[in-house]
């Protein structure tokens, strides 16, 4: 049983990859209808494997290690799954499954359905791989694997100028970010002679009981080599910040996310940008120990990068929420809300404490659920009315009561109204910031509350404009969408409410994840175990 369960980790990555390659074949040789069924089944299988991986990873010492091809680290590539990344992976896989079910109706008017599913499943494979991997270069490969399908999906409606132009913009910026990350891996390999996360963690450690590095080499690295550390931190955080749309690097997101088909907007805004939030946590707190017990250059680099992240997260929340007030395109409106929420998640990261990371992880999961809910309900409206401008909509509550109720619950949740799920994570963020009690943390907490109020005002404006007021005569025939679209939004609304009223199991999981992120000793010890044949 244990043998079969450890393979769940690699199956989570490879099931959607192979399914992605099979989908066009099924579309060509069998029929369009079966592609829908096949895509839903493969996403469901991925979710199942992700849950099995999580169950296995939370047993024993809390870390699952999978050697790809049986080669031991540091030469071989490992998947290193702990309580943090398995939790985020399960949530992402669930969002992608719901988006796939939703797509069966939403995309039914489009041609190229099998190509669409091929891209979506490959994107899922890249996301799972980037979350699970324990190797910095392998992380680059998986980041590319998830990004290239996302460029294609943003530009999927290739006859509209918006999709193509946004896709081009997104592709150039994102490819630049990934090249910078590749440059950073070159620096890391040159300076430390290893790319394995656990091994790198040992090499920079000053911990008295830390084991010997796996890749051999010197213990006390001369400072002439560690001078590259600021460059490494700057390049990696710049590229992760761009991929997760942190404030001055956000400019691609309000174009790219609305231009994509709506289920893809939900996946990109909900799950995709969170992968690099996770990798930032992993890099700062597991690999670089959060600046504790490390050589001095690492300590300086980590501290200055945490300061930068603090400033940028505040800028993100302010800019995202203020820009929400000005938007008339409903999908752009939600895209700016994503920027604000990435700011909240990075605020938790920048507090560099266990409670901050717990709040950040919880906010990542809660925002994933709620943002997917908002995009999918907006997708119902767009699917039925073909209008995205809120000035042309109105009075839809009478025609689409279920969709309207789901949207209103999601909108209140994302603005932080109790007792809904995002309120819980925002509350934990404020508490964590006040525990820290530094001036910047208090400013962060105040900004969080103020921007939440701004978001609430912006959401009220949209709710009023879209669901109440006068129904335009052209929209008299609008009706609720079918079950494949209503079922995902109902499930997401239910989880928004349930996780708000009874959040304790999820808080427990998030806090275990935060502990796992900070427990670099255990992370390294598990990698060392694998050296034994």
């Amino acid at each position: 049983m244990a043998v079969s369960l450890i393979h769940a980790a690699i199956l989570t990555v490879f099931t959607p990859l192979f399914a992605g390659f099979l989908a066009p074949a099924i579309g060509t040789f069998i029929s369009r209808k079966w592609v829908n069924v096949f895509a839903c089944m493969s996403s469901a299988a991925t979710l199942l494997f992700a849950v099995l991986t999580m169950v296995y990873a939370s047993s024993g010492n809390g870390i699952l290690l999978y050697r790809m091809g049986g080669f031991p680290p540091p030469v071989g590539i490992v998947l290193e799954v702990d309580k943090l990344n398995s939790l985020i992976a399960v949530a992402s896989a669930a969002i992608i499954l719901l988006a796939t079910i939703y797509s069966t109706e939403y995309m039914s008017r489009e041609g190229n359905l099998s190509l669409y599913y091929a891209l979506l499943l490959t994107l899922e494979s890249g996301m799972m791989g980037a979350l699970y991997t324990g190797d910095l270069f392998n992380l680059f490969v998986f980041l590319e694997l998830m990004s290239v399908p996302s460029y294609a999906l943003v530009a999927f409606l290739r006859r509209s100028f918006e999709a193509v132009e946004a896709g081009l913009k997104y592709m150039f910026m994102s490819a630049l970010a990934l090249n910078f990350y590749y440059f950073a891996t070159a620096f890391i390999y040159g300076a430390f002679g290893t790319l394995n996360m656990a091994d790198l963690s040992v090499k920079i450690s000053l911990h008295s009981q830390s084991p010997e590095p796996l890749s051999g080499g010197i213990r006390n690295i001369p400072s002439s080599i560690t001078l590259v550390l600021p460059a490494i931190m700057a390049l990696t955080l710049w590229s992760f910040g761009l991929k997760s749309a942190l404030a001055p690097l956000h400019t691609w997101l309000p174009d790219a996310h609305p231009a994509a088909p709506t289920p893809i907007s939900a996946v990109l805004s909900g799950a995709f940008v969170k992968v690099t939030v996770y990798t930032s946590i992993r890099l700062l707190f597991t690999v670089f120990h959060g600046g504790v017990n490390v050589i001095e250059e690492v300590l300086n680099a980590v501290h200055s990068s945490i300061q930068v992240v603090t400033a940028l997260s505040m800028l993100s929340m302010l800019l995202g929420s203020l820009a929400m007030l000005l938007q008339n395109d409903i999908k752009r409106f939600l895209a700016y809300s994503t920027i604000a929420n990435i700011g909240y998640a990075f605020l938790g990261v920048s507090l560099a404490s266990e409670s901050g990371l717990t709040a950040s992880t919880l906010h990542v999961i809660n925002h994933m659920i709620t943002k997917a809910l908002l995009f999918l309900t907006v997708g119902c409206i767009i699917h039925k009315t073909h209008i995205r401008d809120i000035r042309e909509l109105g009075g839809l509550y009478a025609r689409m009561p279920i969709t309207a109720t789901c949207y209103i619950i999601g909108a209140l949740s994302i603005a932080g109204v109790p007792p809904l799920n995002v309120f819980v994570s925002k509350l934990l963020l404020v508490i964590a910031a006040l525990e820290k009690l530094t001036p910047t943390a208090i400013v962060g907490a105040i900004l969080l509350v103020v921007t939440s109020a701004i978001v609430l005002a912006a959401q009220f404006r949209v709710i009023h404009a879209v669901f109440f007021g006068k129904l335009p005569s052209s929209l008299k025939q609008v009706s609720e969408p079918g079950l494949p679209m209503l079922a995902p939004i109902t499930i997401l609304t239910a989880s928004t409410v349930v996780l708000g009223v009874y959040p304790y199991p999820l808080i427990e999981l998030a806090s275990n994840g935060a502990k796992a992120a900070l427990d670099y000793v255990n992370y390294v010890a598990s990698a060392q175990l694998l050296m034994k044949p």
Binding site: E144, V148, F183, A186
Partner: protein, 89 residues
Amino acid sequence: MVNSINLFFITLGYREVWPNIPIAPVIPHGLREDISSYVSLAVDPLPQCLVLTAIVIDMAVTAFAVALIIAVYRIYGSVDERRVRRLAG
């Protein structure tokens, strides 16, 4: 740009074994003397593997970029960046 990073990466793995010339990281016949000359002369094989991966990925990205630019040309009738800016930004 990727090519310059690739070159940088390859240079990291190069080693100076004057007066001999470093050899490619290949073990031709698996004999004992092959392995000893490999250890003393060969350049670091890992950056070469990584660069090979990066070249393949870059090819995919470039191919997709060209395809997208063709789509832009079909819509705008131009690839002049001053004309391809209808989005709000």
